[in-house]
């Protein structure tokens, strides 16, 4: 599905409002006003409020799946290097698409919209399978140890990043980083997060104990 400029504008406005006030907390009038359009245009272009929400998820998840595929086929990287790229990629994604990920968490918890949940399920499956293959490759090459819980590993990565972003104002406050600009702070978080997670993974995957 491709959308014209006006449709994209509505999608982006809706995403911002949904992520800030929730799906049910946002009325179509809110969206219309914020986007500077007539209320009827939402039904006209998307059919309904619910389908507008679905459209947000379809377009965003579509963008996400594209990048994943190419990584695994790259044969010039070692398993550990690949895993580090995955980490960078995940953190980068969530940093840059923060609002969408907020929406995603809420939607996963509510399990109200079947279409969206099916979409997210297949997205998760795709990603978990990719990482599982990556780890398996590393195990074959004897750089990763055996008996790794792939899903738990992913949960730690994604959970850490999401929790950090949910709590980012608290982080700012705790470490007295209030003078930093939003841009600088995001850069700092990115660095902190990627190195933190890479360290976690290294100790989790390498032979030692």
């Amino acid at each position: 599905m491709t959308y014209n400029d006006k449709q994209v504008h509505i999608l982006e406005t809706a995403e911002e409002l949904f992520s800030g006030k929730g799906y049910d907390g946002t009325s179509v009038r809110d969206i219309a006003e914020a986007a500077g359009i007539n209320i009827a245009m939402i039904s006209y272009y998307f059919g309904s409020k619910e389908k507008l929400m679905q459209a947000i998820f379809e377009s965003r998840t579509g963008q996400l799946t594209e990048k994943i595929e190419s990584l695994l086929s790259n044969e010039s990287l070692s398993p550990l290097e690949k895993l580090n790229v995955v980490v960078d990629d995940y953190v980068e994604r969530i940093v840059s698409k923060e609002r969408f990920y907020k929406l995603m968490i809420c939607e996963q918890m509510m399990e109200k919209n079947v279409v969206i949940n099916d979409l997210l399920f297949s997205l998760k499956k795709k990603n978990a399978d990719l990482v599982a293959r990556l780890l398996l490759d590393g195990q074959k090459k004897k750089v990763f140890k055996k008996n790794i819980d792939v899903v738990m590993l992913m949960n730690t990565m994604i959970g850490t990043v999401l929790q950090t972003f949910i709590n980012k104002d608290y982080y700012k406050n705790f470490y007295n980083l209030i003078d930093l600009s939003e841009e600088e702070f995001k850069k700092l978080l990115f660095k902190k997060l990627t190195s933190h997670i890479k360290e976690l993974f290294k100790s989790l995957l390498s032979y030692e104990a």
Copy 2:
């Protein structure tokens, strides 16, 4: 604040509905019907829907803070043992109060209700300070290495647990655990989570590299 049986029943019913359909997705009529009471009783007992939500958070966070204090003062445990108790406690909490934690995540993301967010902020501060003191003690006794990012460590713990619970159906599916009863599955998750996080913390805190 103390509540009578009927009030507690309303609070629990509301918590369940709010966590399943969201605050805005749940009407006072939904709550009244599910609780088997008249709609007017909600305003009568709690003042409004919003104050009902606040009451849920006040009673739950009140219950949480009680347990925390006692741990630190226990001098018979080593820093690492204490940290492991903290992990067990956190996972146990989220396992047993799953619905409330769902609610909490959503509310933290929306930042709509100032009273609730202030409540959660001070709760987070209390917990982070506790863990920070615990780590500091361990550093003094030379069992934990220096330069630990306390908040990041907490985020990994809480994030991993929450992400696991948000994704628990996926986990079940991925490892083919569909025959397990809800009780058995929860037990399994508890074991997996606590050992996983303890392992993470061990490698994160001990000297080596």
